[in-house]
Amino acid sequence: MKKVMFSPDRIKVIAKNTFLEAVRQKFFGFLVVIALGIIASSQVFRDFNFGAPELKFIADFGFGAIVLFGSVLAIVATAQLFFSEIENKTAITILAKPVFRSEFIFGKFIGVSALLLVFTAMMTVILAVLLFWRESALMEIDPEGFEAGRMVAYADVFLYGLVQWLKFSILCGITMVIASFSNTNLYSVILSFVVLLICHLQYLARDAWTQMDFALVQVAVFMLATVFPNFQVFNIGDQVALGESIPIGLTVRIIGYALAYVVVFNLLAVFSFRKREI
């Protein structure tokens, strides 16, 4: 009998199908329209702005849309696409063929990650265009205010998009791990949102664990701070909006940290999915 080898081609096929299926989903279209609408409407909301300069407000607003809707998309799309295969029994058909479970997981991950890339790229480009258009208008109104040239660092706006996409990819990996052992879509979605919250707040546990008196509590808090990735390291939006440039060394380390977790969560999803009965 011919031995079946691990195949990048099969991963490609699964990823392509996952991506196409995701793009066809109404949920994706709905999120794109809402997010684009919100970014574009920052022009309207700036009338309610009290505290920040206009361009900073628009950048802030756009970053907010990217983070919020990107996180929702990463969790919901991953869980939905994973469970649709199981509920429609297509996973049984696929895995009955010479397809490894790891190929299935990697394919699913790449498909969703590509979807997240498209989403993040679209949002970032729209935001950059909006900022450019508004900055140009302001330059005409107040040339003295722009004597030093443009204020917005557009390269950093795109860097922000890249870093957020990496964060969404980790979130996709987390959702994949959760989905691989849970029984329902809803449970996976809720648990993934809880984990997202923990990942944003885990730095508090890290600060607190050394100050705890009880050894048992110390261990529990240390676990919390170590098991979950620290999502605050991806929050470069404030600095970008303030016009501070992000050092290249820091960027490389953030990317390295993200990629390490992407690999780890994918491997864990494969491990957990291999133990699962479909």
């Binding site: 702005n49 009290f50 919020l68 676990m223 929050n235 404030d238 953030i254 390490a260």
Partner: protein, 258 residues
């Protein structure tokens, strides 16, 4: 659910977390240095910041703006019944978005000046209410406002206007001249301090009877002023120096020569 697999996943993540610490630790330290909102000592404040930065992202700017509108809608009633709601909304606004100094300054003014007046007016008015009660209302509101501004200072260490605001509350509401002097001094020493901070510091020193200190300060200040910048008010500063020289009986030979 396969509990064995879940335990293996948790243990693996623990190992990975420890292994990635040397990579993540320096990134986190650098990020923290760059983002004041992540440097909070106070757990409650840090919790609010972590949540809002992470989950609301840039939307916290617009959420804070909406909360500020709501604060003003409540504040406009101008009565003691709305004090708790107004204070809560001010705290909420500054927790959601601590970056604009505007919220901190205006919020503290509402608390220190407006609310103290509402309380006195509702107790019968400035002519009727005993001085001790007026004093207590002013003190209580001033202390709340100063606490708010001290939190603002944690986020905006580089902004002199927060220190000036604290100094003004000490001066006008708590009538604590020494504390007002201290805060004006701290503000005046900052590189981006407004020109008036140094002059007011000297005036307060004079008011406190510390003429010698005021004289030394103004002599040091004068050479740093630009005669072409109207806000620097160099002629006024020179006239204050002369006044102090007269009051301190400085011999003509030892007087300041610009």
């Amino acid at each position: 659910m396969n509990w064995k697999a879940i335990i293996v996943v948790i243990v693996a993540l623990l190992v990975v977390g420890v292994a990635l610490k040397p990579l993540e630790g320096p990134i986190w330290e650098e990020m923290r240095e760059r983002e004041p909102a992540l440097r909070m000592e106070d757990l409650e404040a840090a919790l609010g910041q972590g949540g809002t930065i992470g989950l609301l992202g840039g939307f916290r700017a617009v959420v804070a703006d909406m909360l500020w509108l709501r604060t003003n809608a409540v504040w406009v009633a101008q009565e003691t019944a709305v004090i708790p709601a107004t204070e809560t909304l001010i705290r909420l606004t500054t927790t959601v978005d601590p970056r604009p100094v505007y919220f901190w300054l205006n919020g503290s003014r509402m608390i220190a000046y407006d609310m103290a007046v509402w309380r006195v007016e509702e107790a019968g008015g400035y002519g009727e209410v005993p001085e001790a009660v007026v004093r207590r209302y002013h003190d209580e509101q001033a202390e709340t406002a100063i606490r708010l501004l001290q939190r603002a200072h944690e986020f905006h260490e580089e902004r002199p206007e927060i220190l000036v605001e604290i100094a003004n509350i000490y001066l006008r509401r708590k009538e604590d001249l020494e504390m007002a002097i201290e805060y004006y001094h701290r503000a005046a020493l900052m590189d981006n301090a407004p020109a008036f901070a140094a002059r007011i510091y000297a005036e307060l020193l004079r008011r406190a009877g510390r003429n010698q200190e005021a004289y030394v300060w103004l002599k040091k200040l004068y050479p740093t002023l630009d005669p072409t910048v109207p806000q620097d008010l160099a002629p006024i500063v020179l006239s204050r120096i002369r006044e102090l020289e007269n009051e301190l009986n400085i011999p003509f030979a030892e007087r300041f020569q610009p």
